[in-house]
Symmetry: C2
Subunit: 262 residues, 2 copies
Amino acid sequence: MNSKAEGRPVSPPRTATRHDGGMPGPSAPLASHGRTGRPPVTSRTQILSAARRLIDRDGWEKLTIRRLAAELGIGATTLYHHIQNKEDLLVLLLNHYIDQLERPDLPSDPQERIVTAATAMHDALAGWPWAAEILTVDGFVGLLDETALWMVEAILSGAADRGCTPEQGVEVFRSIWYYTVGEILVRAHSDDRQDGDERALARETSFSSLDASQVPCLAAIGSRWAALAARDTYRQGLRAFVDGLFEQASAPYPTRRSASPR
Amino acid sequence: MNSKAEGRPVSPPRTATRHDGGMPGPSAPLASHGRTGRPPVTSRTQILSAARRLIDRDGWEKLTIRRLAAELGIGATTLYHHIQNKEDLLVLLLNHYIDQLERPDLPSDPQERIVTAATAMHDALAGWPWAAEILTVDGFVGLLDETALWMVEAILSGAADRGCTPEQGVEVFRSIWYYTVGEILVRAHSDDRQDGDERALARETSFSSLDASQVPCLAAIGSRWAALAARDTYRQGLRAFVDGLFEQASAPYPTRRSASPR
DNA sequence: GCTATTTTAGGAACACGTTCCGAAAGTAGC
DNA sequence: GCTACTTTCGGAACGTGTTCCTAAAATAGC
């Protein structure tokens, strides 16, 4: 939604801060404008493009409030008059990134449509390494641009086509969302260790020295755990999840497992 | 670290640096010991109990390296000779917490056993609010105490009892793990906003002003999204996931959906 | 008792996100 | 031109996790 384009509390009579870019163009500070008060020297678009420039040049770990301010030639704390906090900035950047992605063709089969949309969601976030920093911000989905909501819509529509109620559809989405977020976050942190430190080695061997009488299955896997855990099984698990969710939704009463409704 | 000075990789006669507690008891600095070098004034157990004391007294947000050091009466940087970093400390604390929990009776039915174990895992982590800080550290499962691995083992054994190969069992566990981690992390960040700030309000109304022609399902849900997303559906989703995973594992060939093996 | 060696202690410093608060730079009314 | 008022700017400061480097305290060999 566009409403969050303005970080402001939404008070002034003229709320149309909407036409992004504001007054100072990306290169021209421009002349005055109808508003009162000291004119801003930096626009939101300038900030965002400077952030992208910084990321492209130095890598995303180097994207720092202070460095970004320096890149813009302004004080560090001045940035906080344009963005709420760093999470805010990253959400803004992520939205811009997602908007650039091309939307895949959505299959007509509901199940396949969900898998396609969820995979697109997953791949988009997985390809944005610093997405992990903000994936869990409260109400993340609500912060997405309207152009990115087609993924959510695709999943909901798929659920609806399979006879789910809207409530069940939301539950389907949330379940998939949790699975996706978890996969990306765990994977993002696993990829951090590019340097084969001793911790990784100690961990790899840890499962191979387990008590086979206490944890036989784990012991049987032993040192193969690391290799098995490194495989990419997102899509496969997603298919299983969608199948299970639909089977559950189409059975108003517990199918055959022990009843316990809650 | 020290090993590289020597030619041998695992040289020292006594490799068992693991016997926790070290030399200085929880309250007694104690006398000398066989080892050379300046004797430590603080033991690992002292650190851990001080950390718990701090958490119980001031809340876990106040658990800070500097405060912990002050509580112990030592320099802040000295702590880094006993723990690797803050994540390390939290993992240690989490292990101690999990060890104290009572293990539920595991049902004999494989599916129910998995649900029980995963729920225990979930509830344990959800009841430990600052678990969210470390849930995604690389190889987290490998850092668990052996007394906490019964949850992993229960899931693997359940999968094995349903005819899964060890490889499939690991995949079942990882899928459940991702789902669980995602649920906890998202939920942990949603609970952060105890204060009804304006962001939450703006978000709640956000979905109600959507273009019904572009995203009909979302628009139909509208403002109910927030309420629906607040429900606790972990267990229900888990059941569906386990069902789907087993159905998939027992079908060597794609059941009926479009083939695409990869 | 001396020196060498080994191990721990901890102050200084860094970069980070963020908040506070006074200064600066505009407009509006007179 | 002057005084209000409004809005933005940005330096100082706080608390954080963490690293560097030097001092201190023990043992081992002489």
